[in-house]
Amino acid sequence: MIELSRRGVRTALVCSEPFLEMARTQARVFGEPDLSLLVVPHPLGGIPVDDVRARAESALPGLIRLAEKKEQ
């Protein structure tokens, strides 16, 4: 993810709430503290496929905002 970001690819990391702190720490470790993070409700595993789709749909507007923000 960090490597993609460094290569100029617009990048956002999708993670659920319990992993947010770790994601922030890792972004700092890899020297990209401002890496865009897109937080979705936990969990992602062990839920019906329709619920996974619902999470993706709910995250989409945020993803679009991040993409637009990066473009500016």
């Binding site: 319990p18 992993f19 702190e21 770790m22 720490t25 890792q26 470790v29 496929v49």
Partner: protein, 369 residues
């Protein structure tokens, strides 16, 4: 004054605390620098003493420990080895184990950060393990063996303090593992009917090696009745045929079969080589589709092209090929063995203790500075 001694006096090279066991422990515990147990205060003198068995430059990392990618310099590792209670002569083994964990195929980043319960299992082979008294017989996996307890603990403290594997922050293991305190043993080569692990992997018998394996805690296999190889292997295969561990789903997985010496002797007496045991267990430790949940069948097993339309009595092997099984003989008397699943997306790494000239070290004295 040596360069090291001068470095240790620099501001920031260490920390100041009252010269008191309880004060140092309170300081370290408060900062999250321990595994929760008391530590030996890593004083300048103790750290220097630890480095007496390090022929590498004390400030050149042997690797970067994920997920923080902290530099595992001999100096930093030595501080953790002191805290763990290691004797200086154990230090080359701690360093070697960490170096092995930094090989890419071990996949340390994922092992440290995962929600899975794996911990690096350190298995030592060769004469130096015997010289240092690393326990391979009764209680090899604990408690009691000083070298086993402190070498494994030193590796854990380095993974915690240099690697940043703080539970809930850099180590997301759902419920952790008792194996994360220390997970270290020697193979019982004297009681094994087969070639030792390091010889099987191409090292000289006289070499002293560590093998690191990202493993779950052991699950016991009790068989007090079988008197034949077929019987022991049937019980073992039965214990291995369970649907909820990682190895089944990962192409490179190397699940571990730990034989107690008595079970190993019975199996070998039936004419089974290690390769034969692997072949037999791979053929018999299989799980039918219908023992997996419907969701696991649909969302995992059927992702493999050959199983898209497979019937529900299709048998799933616990790893892709017999050679992927790892067999070791550990323990003392008794009719017990163990199955040890792994993280799955990892390959174990074996490395030998080498002298400065690159030759195998035959004694720990050869590794003194």
């Amino acid at each position: 004054m040596s360069e090291l001694a001068a470095h240790l006096q620099l501001p920031g090279a260490g920390f100041e605390a009252d010269d008191d066991f309880d004060a140092v422990n309170a300081h370290c515990l408060e900062r999250g620098w321990t595994d929760g147990l008391p530590i030996v205060p890593p004083t300048r003198e103790r750290v220097e003493h630890m480095l007496a068995y390090c022929q590498r430059p004390w400030n050149e990392p042997v690797g970067a420990l994920a997920p923080r990618y902290g530099a595992a310099t001999p100096l930093a590792v030595a501080a953790n080895a002191v805290m763990a209670g290691c004797r200086p002569e154990y230090f080359p083994l701690v360093l070697l184990a960490l170096e092995a964990m930094c090989e890419e195929r071990f996949n340390l980043y994922a092992i440290q950060a995962t929600t899975h319960v794996c911990a690096p299992l350190l298995i030592f082979n060769g004469p130096i393990a015997r010289e240092l008294g690393i326990v391979s017989g009764h209680g090899a996996l604990g408690p009691g063996g000083h070298a086993n307890a402190t070498i494994g603990r030193a590796a854990r403290l380095a993974l915690l303090n240099i690697g940043g594997a703080k539970p809930g922050h850099g180590d997301m293991a759902t419920y952790g593992s008792p194996a994360k305190y220390s997970y270290c043993a020697a193979e019982n080569e004297a009681a094994s009917p087969w070639e030792p692990l390091h010889v099987e992997r191409g090292f000289a018998k006289e070499a002293s090696t560590v093998t690191v394996i990202a493993a779950e805690a052991p699950h016991n296999v009790n068989d007090h009745e079988s008197v034949t190889a077929a019987g022991i292997l049937k019980t073992m295969a039965g214990n291995m045929s369970i649907p909820g561990f990682n190895d089944i789903f990962q192409p490179v997985s190397q699940p571990v079969v730990l034989f107690g010496p008595e079970h190993a002797a019975t199996v070998a007496a039936g004419g089974y080589s290690k390769a034969d045991v692997k072949k037999h267990l791979h053929e018999h430790a299989r799980i039918p589709f219908n023992r997996f949940s419907d969701e696991n069948v649909e969302r995992r097993l059927r992702k493999r092209k050959k199983w898209v339309d497979a019937p529900l009595d299709t048998l799933v092997p616990i790893c892709r090929a017999p050679e992927q099984l790892t067999i070791v003989v550990i323990g003392g008397a008794g009719k017990h063995s163990a199955f040890i699943p792994t993280f799955g997306d990892t390959q174990s790494v074996t490395r030998a203790l080498a002298r400065a000239d690159g030759r195998d070290a035959l004694s720990i004295a050869e590794l003194r500075r």
